[in-house]
Symmetry: C2
């Protein structure tokens, strides 16, 4: 589709332009934006269904509020694509999620309109409350707006935020984007409760609070009041009898039709005019406007590139570390009826769909609630079950205290499948799995495996479930196994290639492929190295220390943040190690390019070793 | 009071004994237990007010349920003293919180009746749900019982648990001990909501669910039904119209009078008989039965030893690191109107009462919600405020992800006052502050100070607030400053005593006192050492590396878990360091005794150095 067909979109730049449009022009603009979203995501991959669902909502927010004076906080910013298009980034949108292009999430350093960072779920209410509180202290009468899905509502952080918001007397507007989906079909009692509000029509006429407030608002009040009185039910009957949110001290407006721009604008204008904490409940359809995504919103949550006409993915997904993990666990679950599998809203992402189908009674999707997942594992394990919690590395950070308190202190046996460990690439610094090694090694009674190929992953998972004790983490990267080396020696401890050379290269996980590549490059430069691939990376082992200590020079390459890394630990007991690990947050981009920049590609590994030996 | 006056208590051993008593015997037993609680805590210190409040509730739980077949999970186990007395530990109760005595919290390795570990708030619902789920899988028809206060209800983990409990179809009984206090007066909308249930008398007659269930329960059902029909309002009208808890899919029973044993037993029997997730709302009076504690429950939350007749503490509290921190922050708050102070339900514990009185609009008690506190700081800081979050080291573990995601990625300036850093002693392994160095150093853009005396604490706080950027943690121990060394050189970087000796001792924080003591001991053995006291302990500094590298032998003593410690980090870049840090969880006991066992007393430091030099 030629770009110049998006006539309305091309005229747009900043939110001010948006306010000049009439409703029919807005409708045309929404069509343009949807086209742009589908075009771009079909090429670059990204989050589609959630973004298609909030096109009208994004317009309404930017027509009613004045960003950046009003602060818009998008929870899990992957629903912010339309927001990005409307705030001066339409021309850069083609570079979505590309290195040096715009991020797939909100970033304050990318735009003044991105009021807060947003990659991990459920932080928007707390952040917006902080912003609204600062405004109050400064006597600034603008609003802070948090926009979050019902998926984010399963996270405890939202509840902590709501508990503090209700009594805060701030200009805080919380927009609940209710589509009955987070990443997979939403779970838990809160989701059920929200839907009960949706389906029962138990509105009551009004609590007068809106009218009273509007009467007191000199400029906006009267016209708004008129508009509201003339509008449809959902706004006129805006305040529901007694919702959980009113119990928590918030005003409640809704549910509004999230694809009716006029209704949305009226509801948000009321919320803004109230000048106190309000929750606006908006019903949207995930994937709206693109049939394949509307029909299968789960599959179009986060996608790679695909063919627009059919919705078919460009690359048919083969096995991945996640799916191999999920299938192996399903096999183990057949042999041992005490094995339970737990996910925090990532059933498909972690490959647990196989287990969930085979043993529905031993499968638990707890929602976006990693802390609960860990403590729940502790409860299960205390009764003799073997809980296996599969979770992305960066999200397990949410369970750090629970790992210490509810598992490690009692030396409880629980297995953590740490998915997306290491560089994940396109999703950027909020999603890179570079902290699990530092924080897991800081927890007593914890063992960590980092298999480098599918075969090792299966062996490690078996050992973790059936032989080990305490917390056992098996960490593996995003994507599939590209290793081509000889698998005859795979085991769960280490693989040492001792050819009597003076230089040893140590690594673990998928980086072993790059180490082998580096060895090839170095060989062509007449430099021969021995290699040591760790599989059980922690606790440290005397055997490994002995091997390392027997060399004059050891390079240790590691896909982890340096402070707290395995290379740092061995360096502390062996005096001959040059660690190469990650020394800061890592932005988004292609994973291989990022590894290269970090000095962890085969070529860069070889270069560093060559340079070092040159000056020795 | 002579021990033999506690006639009823002496006859008690296990819960089975309890079931044989009639109500008037139970009342006498309650009196005995209260006496025992007051006697013991007045000598050993501990938690008093919360325990006096749940004497009847503890009896009722153990008379209705069958521990250990039914699993009782006490949230923040410091309310479990009566439970301990009733489950075979009455004779050991004199050794409460003493080394090798019983713990002040629940510990599964101490008794089969302690179903789960409990030192950190809000984990009980998740843990009990895990237990109840395992029972369901095993076809075990017993119950899992979680008992938690309204303070714990401010933590997001409880909400995550409730969201999963509602639909779980398990025998889960959640008892909400509602006393309108957590540690200080409870905050937030949920607390207000709970009190609204207490004060409005909006019971409705019944939902029949109780009777229907009881009809289906062959053995217990009929007699129970009769008992209920004959009992007072609170049970007869047990099910409230529509509470937040029912919205979340739980049955609701209450509010019950928490000091009326008969009413409690009826309510709990109904809850047990329902065989599905129930919330039982119990109103109690914190400090019940001891006037000083009833009048000032906040002051009698956690106490040192005191005189029973007057309630006066044996040691009048002088300054502590916490109070010096709080007073200095108050001074800074006068000079800079952007400074905000945040606590997670520890206003007094962290010394923030001074700030809260002086600047109520810039002071925020967010409840037991450390994750929210950190993200809220991020929101405040994004608007130019300088948030200072004072929090106990072991509870900051709850904010690990938020520190990374909501502060560090954007290099946001926020100050964390890490109170109770290092060994805290009596409260045991759930409360030792030995992980903050490992997890804070794993976060990019973080600076850590560890002052060793009040003067340094003030300097570090000033620098953290007024000069530094990013996350700045100032960590300090529980208790007061016992240092006697010369303070003329105090600064925020380091203090180096170079007397040209071959051995260097490095440390930071209060351990510097012990290092100086060790030097004295060694001097008497004709061994002279240089010393290096770090104040800014992280990031590492080249100047420090140069000093350390200039020695043949360096001992680095550190009150932190070893993996991720500062000594490990310097050892990784300097080859001459012998680190002495902590290599496991540390149980409860006197802090000085524990430091001695860990090799961190002056004597043990000296011994280790002597031994090493002997064999060199």
């Amino acid at each position: 589709m030629p770009k110049n067909s998006l006539a309305y979109l091309e005229k747009m730049n900043l939110p001010d332009d948006l306010k000049k449009l009439n409703y029919s022009q807005c409708e045309a603009l929404c069509r343009d934006i949807r086209q742009k979203l589908i075009d771009t995501v079909s090429k670059n991959g990204g989050h589609l269904a959630s973004n298609l669902g909030v096109v009208e909502l994004s317009l309404a927010v930017h027509r009613v509020f004045d960003s950046p004076a009003d602060k818009i906080v998008w929870d899990v910013g992957h629903q912010s694509y339309t927001h990005k298009i409307l705030t001066g980034r339409a021309d850069k949108f083609d570079r979505l999620r590309k290195e040096n292009g715009i991020s797939g999430f909100c970033r304050p350093d990318e735009s003044v309109h991105d009021a807060f960072i947003s990659g991990h779920s459920s932080n928007s209410v707390s952040a917006a409350l902080g912003i609204a509180t600062a405004m109050k202290i400064h006597g600034d009468n603008h609003s802070a707006v948090a926009i979050l899905g019902d998926g984010a509502f399963t996270g405890g952080l939202v509840y902590e935020g709501l508990n503090n918001a209700g009594k805060s007397d701030t200009n805080l507007v919380i927009i609940l984007n209710h589509n009955e989906m987070s990443i997979s079909k939403n779970v838990g009692s809160v989701a059920k409760y929200l839907s009960s509000i949706r389906t029962t029509e138990r509105y009551h006429k009004t609590k007068n609070v809106v009218e009273r407030t509007l009467d007191k608002t000199p400029l906006l009040g009267k016209p708004l009041k008129k508009a509201i009185k003339g509008s449809k039910n959902a706004v006129k009957n805006a305040l529901l009898h007694s919702t959980m949110f009113e119990d928590l001290g918030l005003e409640y407006i809704g549910p509004l039709d999230g694809h009716n721009l006029q209704e949305l604008e009226h509801g948000l204008a009321v919320a803004k005019a109230l000048h106190r904490p309000v929750l606006v409940h908006v019903n949207t359809v995930k994937g709206k406007g693109y049939a394949p995504a509307e029909n299968n919103p789960g599959e179009y949550h986060g996608v790679g590139s695909f063919e627009i006409a059919t919705g078919n993915p460009d690359v048919v997904t083969s096995d991945s570390f996640s799916s191999v993990f999920g299938k192996e666990l399903t096999k183990l679950g057949e042999e041992n009826k005490n094995i339970c599998a737990i996910t925090a809203a990532m059933k498909y992402g972690t490959g647990l769909q196989h287990f969930s189908k085979a043993y529905p009674k031993r499968f638990f999707d707890v929602g976006i609630a990693e802390g609960h997942a860990v403590t729940f594992c502790g409860g299960l394990a205390s009764m003799g079950m073997i809980p296996v919690f599969a979770v992305y590395s960066s999200f397990l950070q949410r369970g750090y205290d629970e790992l210490i308190h509810d598992l490690a202190i009692c030396n409880t046996h629980a297995v953590i499948g740490v998915d997306r460990a290491g560089i994940v690439g396109d999703d950027g610094e909020t999603h890179q799995g570079i902290f699990d090694v530092p924080f897991l090694t800081s927890i007593p009674n914890t063992t960590i495996y980092s298999p480098s190929c599918y075969e090792e992953l299966r062996l490690c998972l078996n050992k973790a479930v059936n032989e080990d004790s305490g917390i056992v983490a098996v960490r593996y990267p995003r994507g599939n196994d590209k290793s081509k080396y000889d698998k005859s020696q795979v085991n769960t401890f280490y693989e040492y290639n001792d050819n009597g050379n003076g230089v040893l290269i140590v690594t673990y996980g998928r980086l072993y492929n790059n180490v082998l590549g580096a060895c090839e490059i170095l060989k062509n430069n007449q430099i021969e190295c021995d290699t040591l691939k760790l599989v059980k990376i922690f606790p440290m082992e005397d055997e490994i220390i002995d091997i390392i200590s027997s060399y004059k020079l050891v390079f240790f390459f590691e896909e982890s943040y340096y402070h707290g890394s395995i290379s740092e630990k061995y360096a502390a007991v062996c005096s001959n190690i040059a660690p190469v690990a990650i020394d800061n947050f890592v932005k988004h981009g292609n994973a291989n390019d990022l590894l290269d920049e970090l000095g962890l590609s085969a070529q860069k590994m070889a270069d560093q070793i060559k340079d070092f030996l040159k000056y020795e």
